[in-house]
Structure formats: C-alpha cells, structure tokens
Symmetry: C2
Subunit: 143 residues, 2 copies
DNA sequence: TTTGATGCAAAGTATTTGCAGACTG
DNA sequence: CAGTCTGCAAATACTTTGCATCAAA
C-alpha cells in the first residue's frame, strides 16, 4: 500500500469515528507512516515542525494515542528510553534493536500465530497482541 | 536449583566482584528469587520492609540494577506501568501478560535460538538478548 | 580502617492532563 | 454554531542520583 492510500485510509477511519482532520494530525500521520526509522514522539515532533510549525509535542502524543487506538501504528515500548513507533507495519512483528546506536530494524518474519497459539493453549490465555524484540548489535556497530 | 543454593550462588558472585553482602541486599535478593509474582520494585520493597524495615526503595532499585548487571534477574519492561522482575528464571523466555489484572505467567518454551539465529543471519545482527511477550486476557479475567 | 553501601530528598524524563481559546464540519 | 482539537504548562509516576552517614570486610 503506498503512502497516499494509507493516509487516505487513516483519514477515512478518523472521519468514521467522528474525529476531526486537522492540519496537525495530517502532518503527524504523514510523518509517522512515512518514516522508516521507528521514530520517537520527540523525533516526529522535530520532523514536522519544519513544515508545520504550529504543532506541539502534546498534540503529537495525543495523535499517537489515537492512531494506537485504531490499530494503525505499533508502539515499541523501550521503557526508560521511551517509546518508538512503527507506522509502516502496524501488525506485530519482530524487531532487532541495536543496543549501541539504537537503530531498529524490522524483520521479515511476522507470523508467530502457531507458536503463540501453542503457548496460550496450555493456560487458557486469550491472546490480543504480542511483541518479539531482539536486542544486540547491528552490523555497523559490531565492527 | 533450590532457593538456598541460588542465594548462595548470587552471594558468591557478589563477593567475587568485590561487592558487599549487606542485610538489605540479602533481603532483596531473597524476595526477588522467591517470588512467583514477577514483582515490581515497589512490591519487592513493600514485601521486605515487613522483615527488614531499614531498607529503602532506592536501595531496592540499586540492588535490582546490580542483579541485572550480573544477569541473575530478568527485567520485564512494561513502559508506563514500570518494570517487573523475574528472579526465578533469569534467561529470556516468553511471558503471558494479562491486560486486565496484570498477572504475568511464565511460558515453558524458552528456546528460540533457531528462530532468532535465522532472523539475525539475514542482517549481520549480533544477538545479545531478546524478549517475547504475549498480551491478552488470562483464564480468570476471560470469564 | 578503608571504602563501598545506605537512606533521604531532590532531580530527571517520557508522557498525560486541565483548561481557555481556536478551528473543523 | 457546537463541540472537538490545540498549545501551554503543570502534573504524574517510575527511576536515578548526590551526598552525608554508616557499616562490611
């Protein structure tokens, strides 16, 4: 799905829900679905104030929450380092996170349903989402 | 490994490193390697002040950091809800985390080395650790 | 006796919230 | 126009840190 289609898709979801489509929201959504960098809220903010100066960090957080609620972005909760967001592939998939430079790379493998089903079956657990994150050193930092 | 052996093991590791073995540390270590509840720092503190009243929350955090550094406990970083700790099985393994009551249950499956190797191989990533957490509703909350 | 550990309180940091005014639909 | 959204600043909550004092070895 290209960026424009995805943007239109999200905009219609918002309209359906009765949410308003403001310039700030469009700028934030564009930034987050475009970036390959798994940006933080702060980086998203720094990125968009260049072209949309009247956007506050608080609004970035509010819009992120909105996008999470409609399952259009994935939050990668790194704890003390804050959260990073994946707006390109909103379905859970593994990430490789560099402990040195902080780079986050997507992995191609994203179907863990059989493994998760097996784990859940044993205990009557009802699965809603998951995260599979691998920490280490990326190829560049390894050198 | 029973609790006493594990406690002795950790104490010798600390001595080797030149760390001191204080009553506070012993109380914290006992609490954390005994609990099945994946306790938070605050819960560990609340637990031990009953028997070891002269232990501050700051010391709990400092000791947790120490135990993480020597790889004797596992941190489960839940972001806004703070961290929980697994002192019984310090090697990475999947957890099932209830979105309703917060219960964290260990899964038996803990060898993902082949999957992780495969993911890492594609990109030259050097794996140091991982987390595999499944979110949903536990059997009780499902009802 | 030496030096690392402790407790306290203050600082730190990512995120959330309350509110008055602005803007979408 | 009604009601939502925005920016600002204050509030939150978990965790860390500085420092004077204490105690393990």
């Amino acid at each position: 799905m290209d960026i424009q289609k995805r943007l239109d898709h999200i905009i219609s979801l918002l309209k359906e829900r009765g949410n308003r489509v403001t310039p700030q929201r469009i700028a934030i959504i564009k930034a987050i679905i475009t970036s390959e960098a798994h940006p933080s809220a702060d980086l998203i903010h720094k990125t968009i104030i260049k072209t949309s100066p009247t956007t506050s960090l608080a609004t970035v957080y509010k819009t992120i929450k909105l996008l999470k609620d409609i399952n259009e972005i994935l939050e990668l909760d790194l704890g003390e380092e804050g959260s990073r967001y994946d707006g390109r592939r909103p379905h859970p998939h593994p990430h490789m996170i560099c402990n040195s430079c902080g780079e986050i790379r997507d992995s191609e493998m994203d179907d863990f349903s059989s493994i998760i089903d097996e784990l859940a079956k044993q205990s009557g657990f009802h699965v809603q989402s998951h995260r599979f994150d691998i920490f280490g050193l990326c190829a560049s930092c390894r050198k």
